[in-house]
């Protein structure tokens, strides 16, 4: 991975910041939403917010898959982990998310078989190696992870594996971005769009945001120079009063996306309405498992009821996810809710806005809270 240093060069960064300052000089306040949690982390980790001109604000959006997964999904996972013969396999950052009664980490401490995996294929391997166990994989994530889960389900079907299921909560990014615009709660001048999701779906799906909502969109990489260039491209659109979809992250995103990934997603998943934490029910924002794969759908196999959203009282994750509140302004931030004892999912996931704010605190936070 030789590309890291090149995208963190100080001189180039200074050049970009000068250009950004020049473009922003005569503009009123502009606000861009970085949709993806990995952007949020990168922005904080490299101290980008403090480097931008006063009138250019970045707002964290709903792009952390752990954060937007409803609490009841966790409750279902906890419930499944308590069944005899069940082995639950999950990505690491789901482990500490509190459900209404318990978390997967707490269940594991009680002796339940809950395993951290790095790929759904590893969970399938667990099923192959343990024919006496019912292995359930928690399929959480956006279009980035959905293809791998689809490939895993295709393989499970091809091999006729009977002791493997997916409890799915896959989500689509663009409908959530549209929902944020539709709610009209936060005024935005542009979107910093996620690169890895776009490597799968391509740039076309964002057109609706540019065309119907007049929103400048730039698909931007995760490295600091990517982000600065993305901001520069957004500002250029704002100044020219343009609204189009541009790709800053050309090294990873072809316009048509990844046809092979899209094809297998289409074989396994169907678009359906989906519940988002903080955002509620969003039409066509989910990827449900198709009926032809019902034999591997944990929701059917284990007779689970559909979820309803519900946040612990006092938790402002919903507002944070909708870009209405800076994490530091939540009254539980850093006191009742910390990465060690998180109440809301935005504090649990490494990609969550609250965790990023907490871990990579801005220097200005030492002096006091910063207004949005």
């Amino acid at each position: 991975m030789k590309f890291l240093e090149e995208f963190r060069d100080q001189e180039t960064a200074h050049g970009l910041l000068r250009s950004i300052g020049h473009l922003a000089r005569d503009l009123p306040r502009v606000r861009f939403m970085e949709v993806c949690g990995t952007h949020t982390v990168s922005i904080f980790r490299h101290g980008i917010r403090d480097l931008l001109p006063e009138n250019v604000k970045l707002i964290s959006g709903p792009g952390c898959p752990v954060c937007v997964t409803p609490r009841t999904f966790l409750d279902q996972a906890v419930h499944l982990s308590q069944k005899p013969h069940v082995s639950l396999a999950s990505f690491g950052d789901m482990m500490r998310v509190p459900g209404s009664q318990s978390s997967l980490e707490a269940e594991r401490a009680k002796g339940r078989d809950v395993r951290v995996v790095y790929s759904p294929l590893d969970a399938l391997q667990t099923a192959r190696e343990n024919p006496g166990r019912d292995v359930i994989f928690l399929g959480v994530g956006f279009e980035t992870t959905a293809p791998a889960v689809a490939a895993t389900l295709l393989r499970a079907k091809a091999e006729g594996i009977k002791n493997f299921w997916v409890l799915g909560a896959h989500k689509r990014v663009v409908p959530a971005m549209e929902a944020i615009l539709q709610a009209e709660e936060v005024s935005l001048e542009g979107f910093i769009c996620p690169p890895h999701v776009s490597a799968v779906i391509g740039s076309q799906p964002y057109q609706i945001l540019a065309e119907s909502w007049g929103m400048p969109c730039v698909i931007t990489g995760f490295e600091p120079l990517d982000i600065l260039q993305g901001i520069y491209m957004l500002l250029s659109q704002v100044i020219k009063k343009e609204h189009k979809v541009e790709v800053q992250y050309r090294r990873g995103v072809p316009p048509q996306g990844n046809p092979a990934a899209l094809r297998i997603m289409g074989e396994v998943f169907q678009v359906e309405d989906s519940l988002w934490r903080g955002l509620g029910n969003i039409p066509k924002s989910g990827l449900g498992i198709k009926e032809s794969f019902a034999a591997w759908d944990a929701r059917i196999g284990f007779g689970l009821e559909p979820e309803d959203a519900g946040d612990p009282p006092g938790c402002s994750c919903g507002e944070v996810l909708r870009g209405l509140m800076e994490p530091a302004n939540c009254k539980m931030f850093g006191t009742l809710c910390t990465p060690q004892k998180p109440l809301g999912p935005c504090m649990v996931s490494g990609e969550g806005a609250c965790a990023a704010h907490f871990k990579y605190a801005q220097v200005s936070l030492v002096k006091g809270k910063r207004p949005l």
Binding site: M1, L51, G141
Partner: protein
């Protein structure tokens, strides 16, 4: 873990020496000599990993706890708990590694104990080592004498151990040539302690990594610690794995590195002393002590931004995407 120690262990066993919670306890003998005393238990999966094994780790960890107090290791104890059926050839391999690492550190195992428990009552092998050492007069690495303007050094690339272990762990199917940095540091530290004017702070960034040691330094001194991200040595391989898993190398454990603070005018000399030892070839000056922000670690990022480095809380968890 911190809560467990502070809320349950410390109140129960409280005394002046324990309260310091240093890497080692430092005891004053009647003859006026200072003895450092420390213990640590080692449970690691996998037992054998690239660059080392539980035996090398158990000796290095305890020798390093002594060394960070500026103590020359005198002797070690070795306690082993074996699960019934543990392969004898593995035990022999581990003991050979204990012997070789102790030799490297110039210390002997002088007492020990072995217990065998029934299958399922332990995970293969657990090792405890304790160590004693002597602290020469005038040495104080506690951080209490750190002054504004002092310079922070690290003895080599960070995160090798943590990442090497993570790659080996079940589930992460990656291939890598990366080796753990696990090593006994007394030889390196002994050289550094010859620095005129001395070393005012010494710690090994194990659990919680560099971030943990430096936030501790800021807390103890009440001063600001300013780090230059571009100066912190991180191997390309460690950086890549961390990027892939969404981890921050600043928080990843080392088992053969140390962080030192010295006076500004001695910084070059200290760097040369570290580089003169095979374990310190890639030593670097990474930061300095400032008035502000008091009690905090400020990181100047590679692109010229800045942020605070926070105390690590809990284990880092690999992310979804």
């Amino acid at each position: 873990m911190g809560d467990l120690i502070r809320e349950i262990l410390l109140p129960m066993l409280d005394n002046e020496i324990l309260r310091r919670l240093g890497d080692s306890a430092v005891l004053q003998t009647e003859g006026g000599e200072r003895l450092a005393f420390t213990t640590d238990s080692y449970v690691i999966s996998p037992i054998f990993f690239p660059g080392g094994d539980i035996g090398r780790l158990a000796v290095s960890g305890t020798v390093n706890d002594l060394a960070m107090e500026g103590a020359r290791p005198l002797a070690l104890s070795l306690g082993i708990i074996l699960e019934e059926g543990f392969p004898m050839e593995d035990l022999v391999r581990i003991l050979r590694s204990v012997r070789d690492t102790a030799r490297e550190a110039g210390v002997s195992v002088v007492t020990g104990d072995t217990k065998v428990v029934r299958k399922g009552e332990a995970d293969g092998i657990f090792i405890n080592t304790s160590g004693i050492g002597t602290v020469a007069p005038g040495i104080d690495t506690s951080g209490e004498k750190v002054a504004v303007g002092d310079v922070v050094l690290v003895s080599g690339p960070i995160g090798d151990h943590g990442v090497a272990i993570m790659i080996q762990r079940e589930g992460l199917r990656m291939e890598s040539l990366l080796e753990s940095d696990v090593a006994p540091l007394w030889g390196l530290v002994e050289g550094l302690l010859s620095l005129s004017g001395g070393v005012s702070f010494l710690r090994d960034p194990t659990r919680g990594g560099l971030a943990s040691v430096l936030t501790e330094l800021a807390r103890i001194t009440g001063k600001g610690v300013e780090l230059q991200e571009s100066q912190i040595p991180v191997r390309a391989e460690v950086r890549s794995v961390c990027e892939l898993l969404g981890l921050d190398p600043l928080y990843v454990a080392c088992e053969g590195r140390c962080v030192a603070v010295v006076a500004q005018e001695r910084a070059q000399e200290a760097l040369e002393l570290l580089k003169a030892h095979p374990l310190g070839r890639q030593a670097r000056i990474i930061g300095r002590i400032l008035e502000k922000p008091p009690g905090h670690v400020l990181l100047r990022t590679a692109i010229g931004g800045s942020r605070l480095v926070q105390l690590p809380l809990g284990e880092q968890l690999p992310r979804i995407c």
